[in-house]
Every structure is written in structure tokens, then in C-alpha cells.
């Protein structure tokens, strides 16, 4: 709307702003892209709900041959792996942020932030490769020997190379820690110096001061973890490489291989068009992923406004 108004005004003013207004086409393109993504996902994704109804998300069945699609196992796998990843990442990220701000000298801080950005620059497929051939076998070994193997009756056992929901969770946590660390680190650094002074002036130990400061920024920590959860849920290739890609209806058995929504999409890309309803089913899953992300974004914007 603003563009239109500007456009009219400048026509009357007869100045040389036409070229500038042409730039707005790029902005329109971006708005168009976002709207199109929304429409395509909604329009295509809804078709599977029309065919399968709610059983699309309440049953565990995935068969192109039988044309029956229920993604509960993948939905569950997504939530479980994301949840474990975020629990591990929370610990690691808080520990890292505190170390960087409260323990390391200032020159090492710059180094740590470079390292954080570098971790984000590594392609996810390489995390997947390392996860599959280095990390998974280690985790597979751990959960196949006592004492952890005693849990096999309850939590299942890994696939070849140690692929499992747990391996995927741990790989995810490694991938999201740098990002969570960066947010927590920044809000820790933003706490005014006078809060430190007040706390130390009461004769508190460093650890006590740090714990109070962490409580002080708990909204930012929560925000960081929620956004990281969104990233974990959407991560595709790295997970697809270490999760084992097995239809595992007992998705809470984290020592067994399984699926997440994103990894199921990735795993099916080569034969999706061979079946009538597989493409709509894939769009249905993408729609769910999108809605989870949207929900997280809305939640985050609410808590960060309140906090």
C-alpha cells in the first residue's frame, strides 16, 4: 500500500524517483515468495487430510503400495529427538555461555564467537557424514553394552552403525548448541555491570552471582531454546543420515532407529511421484513442520514481549 501511495505522489512530483520505486519490485517478489510458500503448503498439504482425515497424524502407517499414510511415528520421532536434543543443548549452551562471559579473558571471547559462527557455516550434510560414521558407532557401542544395554527391553536397540533416535538427538544437540550459546551469551553480556556490583557487594560467591544472573535472563534462555527447538525440528539431512530410517511406531524407544518428519520427507524424495497420494502426504508433513515452526515463532514473540 505504502508503495502505491509513494508511487502516486512521485508521479505528481515529477522527480527522478521512478527508478527508486522500481526497486520495490524486489520487495514485492519477497512478499510473493512467502505468500506462495504458505499457499502451496496449505493447498497441497490439506489434500492428505481430506483423504486420511485425522488418522494422518494419529496412526503409524506409511505405505505407497497400500496408499495408506499415517505419520504418528514420524511426528513422535520429531518431538522426541527435538526434546532430547534441546535438553542436552540447554546444559551445554548455558555452560558455554557462562564460561565465555564469566571465565574466559576477553580476547578468548572473540575466538569463541568465531568458533560459534564457524560451526554454523559447516554444511549439515557434513555433520550427517560425521554423525553417521563417527558419532553413531560410539553411541551405538555405548547403548549396546552394559549398563545401558540393560534398558534394551524398554528402549530398543540400535541399527547398523549405531543409528538410532538417540544418535540423531545427540547430533542435533551438537548442531544447535552454537546458536543457543550465542543468544544466551549475548544476553548474559548485556546484563548491566551494576547488577554484578550489587550482587558481589552482598558477599556472594561467583557461582551464586552467576546463578542469579542466569535466573535474571531466563526469558532469553527460554527464547534461545525454543528457536533452537524449531531448528532441530526442521533439520533434515543430518538427521536422515543417523536416525536409521525405520518405521518405528514405538517412537519413545530412543535406542532404536526411527524417523522424523523431515527425515521421512528426505528419504522418500526419489519415489514420491510413483504413488498417487505420497506427494500430498509429503506436503501434509511439510505443512505440519511449518505449523510447528509458526507456533514456536508466535510463542517466542509473546514471551519476549512479556519478558
Amino acid at each position: 500500500m505504502g508503495a502505491l501511495r509513494l508511487f502516486e505522489r512521485s508521479l505528481f512530483k515529477k522527480n527522478r524517483e521512478y527508478f527508486f520505486l522500481l526497486l520495490a519490485l524486489a520487495n514485492i517478489a519477497i512478499v510473493f515468495i512467502v505468500i506462495t510458500i504458505n499457499l502451496v503448503l496449505a493447498g497441497q498439504g490439506v489434500r492428505i487430510f481430506i483423504k486420511e482425515g485425522l488418522s494422518f497424524i494419529t496412526t503409524s502407517a506409511w505405505s505407497g503400495v497400500k496408499e495408506s499414510y499415517g505419520i504418528l511415528f514420524a511426528l513422535g520421532g520429531t518431538l522426541v529427538t527435538g526434546g532430547i536434543a534441546i535438553a542436552i543443548a540447554a546444559l551445554l549452551a548455558i555452560g558455554s555461555a557462562v564460561t565465555i562471559i564469566e571465565i574466559l579473558p576477553s580476547w578468548a571471547r572473540a575466538f569463541a564467537s568465531t568458533l560459534t559462527d564457524l560451526s554454523a557455516a559447516i554444511p549439515t550434510v557434513i555433520y550427517g557424514l560425521w554423525g553417521l560414521f563417527v558419532l553413531s558407532p560410539v553411541i551405538g557401542g555405548l547403548i549396546s553394552t552394559p549398563p545401558l544395554s540393560l534398558l534394551t527391553p524398554y528402549l530398543g536397540s540400535p541399527g547398523s552403525l549405531g543409528t538410532s533416535l538417540l544418535s540423531a538427538s545427540i547430533l542435533l544437540s551438537i548442531m544447535i548448541v552454537p546458536f543457543s550459546t550465542a543468544i544466551i551469551r549475548e544476553s548474559l553480556a548485556r546484563i548491566p555491570k551494576y547488577i554484578d556490583e550489587a550482587l558481589y557487594s552482598l558477599g556472594l560467591t561467583k557461582f551464586e552471582v552467576v546463578m542469579i544472573k542466569l535466573r535474571y535472563i531466563r526469558t532469553s534462555i527460554l527464547t534461545a531454546l525454543m528457536i533452537s527447538y524449531g531448528r532441530a525440528v526442521g533439520e533434515t539431512v543430518a538427521v536422515a543420515m543417523v536416525i536409521g530410517n525405520v518405521l518405528n511406531p514405538d517412537f519413545w524407544r530412543i535406542f532404536s532407529p526411527g524417523y522424523t518428519i523431515a527425515s521421512l520427507i528426505a528419504d522418500q524424495y526419489q519415489n514420491a511421484e510413483a504413488y498417487t497420494y505420497m506427494v500430498p502426504a509429503i506436503f501434509g508433513m511439510a505443512l505440519i513442520l511449518f505449523l510447528i515452526g509458526l507456533g514456536i515463532n508466535i510463542y517466542v514473540s509473546i514471551i519476549s514481549r512479556r519478558g
Partner: protein, 293 residues
């Protein structure tokens, strides 16, 4: 009193330990890729860079030439599409004051960064399918096949745009007010003023491109339903961009999961090539972002 001090030291030690645990994997990963990858590349040097994938189950590691070429084509094309859109949009959003369109792009690009990239690829695929149907109804043919280099490049471009855009927008907003006023007080039009300011934030622009290209280079998920992948050199002709194409990332993914020993080894070699380019681009963006000239 002393237990408190002990507790404090122990607590801080735990934090430090968590830090060490969380940075260890990155170092390990880089080291493993370099060690495994370099021995693979050395075993077929320089053929690894231009040969095609070998027969499965043999002793040969072959090469990843088609994947390198595919990545090159996809990323260049995506950069050509994304750069003008991102730059023009950032200029318009920062120089048109109080424009709702500018505000919308600013907000939407920040949301786009958090879109799972698999969704981006799927959306391009879905859009092209719809285009197929719609154009088919009126007897026309969709100019962009859904499994093609072009559609892959579009998907990558959509992934890149928000990264380039946000960098440049932040750069333009950080132009000091007195400079901005000086430029406009000379009576320059907004387009001219924008060009001057873009020149002022040159380093940011290059950083933005390095970050965007680095992103596109490492993406796998958006290519599944678009570029689709191919293990052979494409025939170099007019139809090249309209056929499926491979990439380093798709190659690594498919070979790593193939179960064939020699393909898995080739995937380590490909990973080293990809990681080297990513780290190089990262270093470039790091050096430039700390510099203005």
C-alpha cells in the same frame, strides 16, 4: 563458609567442562574430514576432481566431477537470482521511510531465515507442479521443469535471499546519520544516494554475498525435490538447465547412505572439498566484516 567457596569452584568447573564438551565435536569433525578426505583425494589425484562416480562395490574411488560442476552451476545461478532481489529490496526498505512494504520485507525475511530449508524446496516443487497443471489447462507448457537445475537454483536463491538481505539491511541502517544527511543534502535522488551508501558499505555487501553463497553451497534439503540429483556429467547444451543436476551435497548424502565402501570413501573426499570451500568463504566473510574501507 568454606563449603560455599568449594561449591562455587565446583560449579564454575562444571560450566567450563560443559564448554569443553560443546566445542570438542566441531574440532573433531573438521579433523576427521581433513584426515579421511585428504587420503581419499590423494588416492586418485587429480582425477577425483573431474572423474565420475565409479561402479559400486569396486576398489575405485573415482571422482566427484559432476557434483562439483552441479554445485558450481546451481550456486552461480542462485546467486544471480538472489543477489539483485535481496539488494534492491534492502535498499528500498531502508530508504523508503515508513513504507509498509519495506516493513513487511524486513519482518518476512527474518521469518524466512527460520524456515526449514526442506520446506523451501518442497514449495518450489509444489508451485511448479501447480504451474504445470494451470498452464496445461490452457495448452501451454511450463517453461521450468520441476526436476531441473533451474528449479534447484530457485530453491537455493530463496534460501539465500534472507541472509543477504538482512546483512545488507543492517549495513545500510548502520550508515551514520550525518553521512546520510550529507548525501541527501546535496540533492541526490534516492537511487543515487543508495548507490553512494552501497559503496560506503562495500565490505558488508561482500560479506553478505559470502554468507549467502556459503549457505547455498552447503544446502542439501532444498535440492531433493528440485535439482533432484544426477551422477553423470550433463550434456553441455541449451537444455542443460532444464534437466536434473547433481551437487556435492546430494552426492555426499547419497553415497554415504549407499552402503558401498568405495562410494562412502568418495563421500569423504567430496566432504573435504565442500568443507574447504565453506571454511574459505567463512574466513573471507570474517575478515571483511571487521573491516571498512
Amino acid at each position: 563458609m568454606d563449603t560455599r567457596r568449594l561449591r562455587s569452584s565446583l560449579g564454575m568447573l562444571v560450566f567450563a567442562l560443559l564448554f569443553v564438551i560443546s566445542i570438542f565435536p566441531v574440532f573433531h569433525l573438521i579433523a576427521v574430514v581433513f584426515i579421511n578426505g585428504s587420503s581419499v583425494i590423494a588416492s586418485n589425484f587429480p582425477g577425483f576432481f573431474y572423474e565420475e562416480r565409479p561402479l559400486p562395490g569396486t576398489e575405485e574411488v573415482g571422482g566427484v566431477g559432476p557434483y562439483i560442476l552441479g554445485t558450481l552451476i546451481l550456486v552461480s545461478l542462485a546467486t544471480v537470482i538472489a543477489t539483485p532481489i535481496a539488494i534492491f529490496a534492502a535498499i528500498y526498505a531502508t530508504q523508503s521511510l515508513r513504507s509498509r512494504l519495506g516493513f513487511a520485507t524486513s519482518t518476512l525475511t527474518r521469518a524466512m531465515i527460520e524456515f526449514p530449508t526442506i520446506i523451501v524446496g518442497l514449495s518450489v516443487y509444489g508451485f511448479l507442479r501447480i504451474l504445470d497443471e494451470v498452464l496445461g489447462m490452457i495448452g501451454l507448457q511450463n517453461p521450468i521443469p520441476r526436476f531441473s537445475a533451474l528449479s534447484g537454483a530457485i530453491a537455493l536463491a530463496i534460501v539465500m535471499i534472507p541472509f543477504i538481505y538482512t546483512q545488507i539491511e543492517d549495513g545500510l541502517r548502520s550508515v551514520p546519520n550525518d553521512l546520510r544527511e550529507a548525501i541527501y543534502s546535496l540533492g541526490s535522488s534516492r537511487i543515487k544516494a543508495s548507490i553512494i551508501m552501497m559503496r560506503y558499505i562495500k565490505a558488508t555487501v561482500i560479506t553478505a554475498l559470502a554468507i549467502g553463497i556459503g549457505k547455498a553451497l552447503g544446502e542439501t534439503a532444498p535440492l531433493f525435490f528440485t535439482a533432484f540429483g544426477s551422477d553423470l556429467y550433463p550434456p553441455i547444451d541449451a537444455g542443460m538447465l532444464f534437466r536434473p543436476i547433481g551437487s556435492l551435497t546430494l552426492g555426499i548424502y547419497n553415497m554415504a547412505l549407499s552402503g558401498y565402501d568405495n562410494w562412502i570413501r568418495a563421500s569423504w573426499g567430496a566432504a573435504l572439498i565442500l568443507l574447504s570451500i565453506s571454511i574459505t568463504l567463512f574466513i573471507v566473510s570474517r575478515i571483511l566484516s571487521h573491516r571498512r574501507w
